[in-house]
């Protein structure tokens, strides 16, 4: 099946797969990273309008939660140190209480100080208030960027599913960083 891409509007874009392969080979890595590749996929239709749906935000953004004085209340999470690398954030938390510790972004073009550009809790709460989204799940989720497909499929993804079901979520918005 071909992706239903709107090719007429396609602009140029960065070929990250090719660029990172060349970049990391040059840096001395022996094995290329294998990006997930499929030519078909699963699909679930939305059962009711977004305006009546409960939505959950899930991101690989590296964020730590802060107390009201701006001090971190948790350690930065590091890939591979925990079996389960899914960490909730209350979806009513002001984004000023989150701080990026990401290095997985274009550090010249953007500095990650506006959390809503990648973990848009403020915008989502506005859309709920405006009636465009039914409600938000009580938790938004952070995942660590993970390079093991096995780990993602056997541990992280089932945990996201479990939490989404527990909170009776109708749709999930994913923001990879």
């Amino acid at each position: 099946m071909e992706p239903a891409t709107d090719v007429l509007n396609a602009t140029d874009f960065v070929r990250y797969i090719d660029k990172t392969r060349a970049y990391y080979r040059h840096a001395g890595y022996v094995r290329d990273y294998r990006w997930a590749e499929f030519n078909d996929g699963p699909f679930t239709p939305l059962r009711k309008p977004v305006a009546e749906s409960r939505v959950m935000l899930v991101s690989t953004a590296s964020l730590v939660m802060l107390d009201e004085q701006g001090r971190p209340i948790e350690p930065p999470r590091v890939i591979g140190t925990n079996e389960l690398e899914v960490f909730p954030v209350p979806s009513d938390l002001p984004v000023e209480r989150l701080r990026s510790v990401s290095v997985d972004h274009d550090r010249v073009q953007t500095d990650m100080t506006d959390v809503d550009a990648y973990f848009p809790l403020t915008r989502l709460r506005e859309l709920v208030a405006a009636g465009e989204i039914g409600s938000l799940a009580g938790e938004a989720l952070r995942l660590l960027p993970n390079y093991s497909h096995r780990k993602v499929l056997q541990v992280d993804a089932p945990e996201v599913l479990r939490r989404a079901r527990e909170q009776e979520v109708d749709a999930v918005l994913l923001s990879p960083v």
């Binding site: 660029k19 990172t20 996929g41 699963p42 679930t44 977004v50 848009p120 497909h149 999930v172």
Partner: protein, 125 residues
Amino acid sequence: MSLVARHLEENGIPTVVYSVARDITERAFTPRAVFTNYPLGNPCGRPRDPENQRAILRTGLRLLEQAAAPGTLVETPYVWSDGRDWMRLIFSDEQPFLTPEAEAQRQAELERARQQKLARRQAGD
């Protein structure tokens, strides 16, 4: 992230992925995706531009309702900057992805994680 989206869709939960990496998203046959040609780090809109962030989020919300088949990707019309140097410079010798300090720290963290994993294995955990 597309693997998580696919797992959710397989199990009856619709998803939309906000992407700034079109090739990665398409290769994974992501069920529904919104692509914006912005630098890595801003999949949900331009920093300090709430109107732009709302517009990008809404594109995904519409896609949730309107997509009819898996592998549907829509591209938003927003342009990051007049110049396109950022597209050339990312992952180049001229602009290393990590600063030397961040690279050293990452290597140290990965090594620490490897050691912990090894220790857990040896403990029969």
